[in-house]
Amino acid sequence: MSLISKDGALRVAFTLNGRETTVETVTSRVLSDLLRDDMNLKGTRVSCGRTVCGACSVLVDGFPRAACSTFAFEVEGRDVQTIEGVEAPDGTLDPVQAAFAAKSAFQCGFCTSGMILLAKSLLATHPDPDRATIIAWISSNICRCTGYELIVEAVQDAARAMREGPKS
């Protein structure tokens, strides 16, 4: 349970990238600042700061949320995944990461953390998405560089790789 004191200080307990985590913070802290500035998890990018671009997307209970516009206290008891928690502990890339790397589905890379998490959430619920579904999902995030086509293809590649399972 979160304990809020009069001065706005509070304790938030949540699961971060698979680990039970408790932080001391304040009521006004947003999740992106908590992650980036207090926990040095810089892979969550912040651009517009107002729920439009999706660069700051993290997964909360498996679904994308704009960390820039989510208060830290809102994740009390929830499961939070950031880009830092996507690769396996031994450093093996997740199939979505591997597909983005192989397809060059990024340029400046500023949207990439958010896009990869978005794609993971999509593929968790739609293992074999058609093009229209992929486009509908990734339309919630802005990529100013790629023209999206290579991102769509990377998501298709990742879906295929995940369905076929790890190559022997």
């Binding site: 810089k42 192989a102 340029q107 400046c108 339309s139 560089c145 023209g147 999206y148």
Partner: protein
């Protein structure tokens, strides 16, 4: 060397050098940097478009908790030698001196322990303004009664120009620069069967790079400074900083990590002078990170009015063109003179004329300063030029594609007198996109809709004018390769492509090449990451540096083995001599002693100065983008449905095919947004959609049903292995190709961007009388 052996790395599907860092979130950008004791800067911006600053009271702000420094323009004299900056014209103050010239002009700056404290302090700064009449657009600024935005003319320079080109500073009121170009004799207009006058308008976009304008500046003991910044041209920035603070360039370290997009915006001073002043005042590192909303108030594309007069024969042969372009430069000159040069020079497009004459003027208005933007004047020029070519073809009853083919400058033919030859077969590219969209197929449409197809060619000189680039390659005893050059990795894949060139030449695996962090104190000089110049200009410098190292290594081995260098091959840091293999590390230790050695090769490239060339150097290469569009228009609503968009660029030789593809597709989608909806909307001088929610950029759902990019490799480029530059070309032709297809569909011509349903519908209604 490149011609005989099959290529191992160049053109191969290798993973981008920055892939792992970017897909794991480990890539570090300026925005991620924090230093111990770091302060945060925020600025107070003008709420007026044009006003005299009567007084500024900072006392209350300075007394706020956490506030370490507050400053204003007039107080800067204590900290800087020169309070203004700019490319050709030094007119932009670090902070407003006595006047503000647009809503958003910076008036005062605060450094505090936190951003929140800095913002709180800003709220307590009291400024008294005396409003002056504003100049919201080009017409207002050129009005005879308009006030002078700069009553005292700021100083500037005109660079040397060659055959047919010239320019003038401050030619008339509120015009800071005028570029002219002429070739051939205007009398040929008299022989034309037809002369057509048309006027076009071009709306402006914001760059919307996702990483904001940001820097961390540190003024150190002993007047040594370090600026880590999200910037495209660290060396020119260093020069401006040296001038502003009257400091030797050798005391300035500008460092650039990964940059989260720029599209032109991140050239020259943005956050850096203010952060440096505040650091100098406090003795602490200062971070100045603008919000996206502030980005809208910092730099934009140029809106424009373009008037073309084109003379043509009845059979469609182009004869002469006179152009007058007015660029809306916003409140300060910024890169406007350079953009004017390019817009004015490029406006005749890819066609052969007997006479061209153009005048491009930079008009100052009380809006956000306009600067470099992907396409750099070519976007505006192509919009007008490729629209008018289509209109002329239709007026003459000719097929627009046939008319284009009839007039294209041929492969290797100089584009203008004194220019380099065109390095793509342009007819080939046009045929590819026409085929892809089914240019000749029947125009079937749903009931109430009409189908149309349109083509356009974007054409610009590429590689920058007078652009020198230097590079260094070092290889240590064990064969670890250090690549040092000033090209910024802004997403375009430069680190990958340049490392591929080095690895190919040195016979090394790509992973062996490390692209060293960019620091102006140690990195060899480069003019900037712009003009699609990385592979053609820097690429040649890198190539030379690598070849130099290779030759040194082979020479050393040849002497050691008592043979001729030509008999040796370098492969994986091993010398191959027929069937023998000699690993290099032990050989080097043997020759140079136990501590080893480091081979260093330097490379330099610059297109030669040439007074016969209009811009003083011949164009390094020609960046050409072809577009074809297949669409339908709803005659009831003016709605446009794009069935297919095909674009093509010619990479000469693709160093990395997916990187080239991404550049072409990203540029094309930016062009699609420009064509259909994306624009900065002003109410007078006030920007009303300057934030993410209101400002619409293309999303995945805006992708056409079919979106194809066709990568050509015609092989005529000047870069390593025949490469040409990429990344801007396919943006240029998209808006006119769509306008051309709309006319093909419903017979109306829209001359203003964007091509909104409202505009199309009212044109349809007007045409019905």
């Amino acid at each position: 060397m490149s011609d005989q052996k099959p290529l191992r790395i160049v053109g191969q599907p290798v993973e981008r050098a920055d892939a792992h860092a970017k897909v794991t979130g480990r890539a570090r950008y300026t925005v991620d940097l924090a230093k111990p004791g770091m302060l945060h800067a925020k600025v107070l911006r003008s709420p007026h478009a044009h006003a005299r600053v009567v007084s500024v009271d900072i006392a209350a702000a300075a007394a706020m908790p956490g506030v370490r420094a507050v400053t204003t323009g007039p107080q800067l004299a204590e900290w800087v030698a020169m309070p203004v900056y700019g490319y050709f014209i030094k007119d932009q103050p670090i902070l407003a001196m006595d006047r503000v010239r647009y809503e958003g002009d910076m008036v005062a700056a605060v450094a505090a322990d936190t951003e929140a404290q800095a913002n709180a302090a800003l709220a307590l700064i009291r400024v008294e303004y005396a409003a002056l009449p504003d100049l919201p657009d080009i017409d207002a600024a050129l009005d005879t009664d308009a006030p002078d935005l700069f009553p005292e003319t700021p100083r500037g320079v005109v660079p040397p120009y060659g055959q047919g080109a010239s320019a003038q500073l401050w030619p008339r009121k509120n015009v800071c620069y005028a570029f002219r170009y002429a070739s051939g004799n205007a009398s040929v207009f008299e022989r034309c069967d037809h002369v057509f006058d048309d006027e076009f308008r071009f709306s402006r976009m914001n760059h919307l790079h996702l990483e904001p304008f940001v820097c961390v500046a540190e003024w150190r003991e002993g007047d040594e400074i370090e600026v880590v910044t999200s910037c495209q041209n660290p060396f020119p920035l260093r020069k401006e900083i040296a001038r502003i603070f009257r400091l030797a360039e050798s005391r300035i370290s500008v460092k650039v990590p990964f940059v989260g997009g720029g599209f032109g915006a991140k050239n020259n001073c943005k956050t850096e002078p203010i952060a440096l002043v505040l650091s100098k005042m406090t003795g602490r590192p200062v971070r100045f990170c603008m919000t996206m909303e502030e980005g809208f108030l910092t730099n934009t594309q140029h809106a424009a009015v373009l008037k073309l007069k084109t003379g043509v024969m009845a059979d469609g042969t182009l004869v002469a063109r006179q152009s007058h372009i007015l660029l809306d430069s916003g409140a300060y000159s910024d890169a406007s003179p350079l953009v004017a040069e390019k817009a004015g020079y490029r406006v005749s497009g890819p066609y052969r004329y007997q006479h061209v004459e153009s005048l491009c003027e930079c008009v100052l208005t009380t809006t956000t300063p306009a600067g470099p933007y992907r396409g750099f004047g070519g976007t505006q020029a192509t919009w007008a030029s490729e629209s008018q070519i289509d209109m002329i073809a239709r007026r003459l009853g000719l097929d627009p594609m046939e008319m284009r083919l009839k007039n294209l400058v041929a492969l290797h033919e100089p584009w203008m007198p004194g220019e380099s030859g065109v390095d793509s077969d342009m007819a080939e590219g046009l045929a590819l996109v026409a085929e892809e969209i089914g240019y000749d197929r029947p125009r079937d449409a749903a009931p109430g809709w009409s189908r149309g197809r349109g083509l356009a060619i974007g054409f610009k000189d590429g590689g920058g004018v007078n652009k020198p680039a230097q590079a260094r390659v070092k290889v240590s005893t064990g064969g670890d390769i250090h690549l040092m050059c000033g090209t910024v990795e802004i997403g375009q894949g430069a680190r990958t492509a340049l490392a591929q060139v080095v690895a190919e030449i040195l016979g090394a695996p790509l992973a062996r090449v490390e692209y060293l962090p960019l620091d102006t104190r140690y990195t060899p000089f480069d003019q900037g990451t712009n003009a699609s110049s990385a592979i053609t200009v820097m690429g040649q410098a890198v190539q030379r540096a690598a070849v130099s190292v290779r030759n040194q290594v082979l020479q050393m081995a040849a002497e050691h083995l008592g043979t001729d260098a030509a008999a040796l091959e370098l492969e994986d840091w091993t010398i191959r001599h027929g069937n023998e293999a000699h690993p290099l590390a032990p050989m080097i230790m043997h020759i140079y002693g136990g501590t080893g050695f480091e081979f260093t090769g330097d490379g330099f490239h610059k297109q030669a100065n040439d007074h016969q060339a209009p811009l003083e150097t011949k164009s390094v290469f020609w960046e050409i983008g072809w577009a074809g569009v297949d669409l339908s228009v709803d005659r009831e609503t003016g709605q446009v449905k794009i069935h297919a968009l095909a674009v093509s660029g010619d990479a000469g030789r693709a160093i990395h095919r997916l990187v080239c593809r991404g550049q072409d597709e990203g540029a094309a989608l930016m062009g699609l947004g420009q064509a259909l909806f994306e624009q900065m909307v002003y109410d007078g001088s006030r920007l009303i959609n300057g934030e993410a929610l209101m400002y619409r950029v293309p999303l995945a759902e805006d992708l056409p049903d079919r979106f194809t990019s066709i990568l050509q490799e015609q092989g005529h480029g000047p870069g390593p292995f025949g490469a040409k530059g990429m990344g801007e070309g396919t943006m240029l032709p998209v808006p006119p190709a769509i306008a051309n297809a709309i006319e093909d569909a419903v017979g109306v011509r829209i001359r203003d961007l964007p091509l909104t349903p409202e505009r199309i519908l009212s044109a349809i209604v007007a045409a019905q009388g």
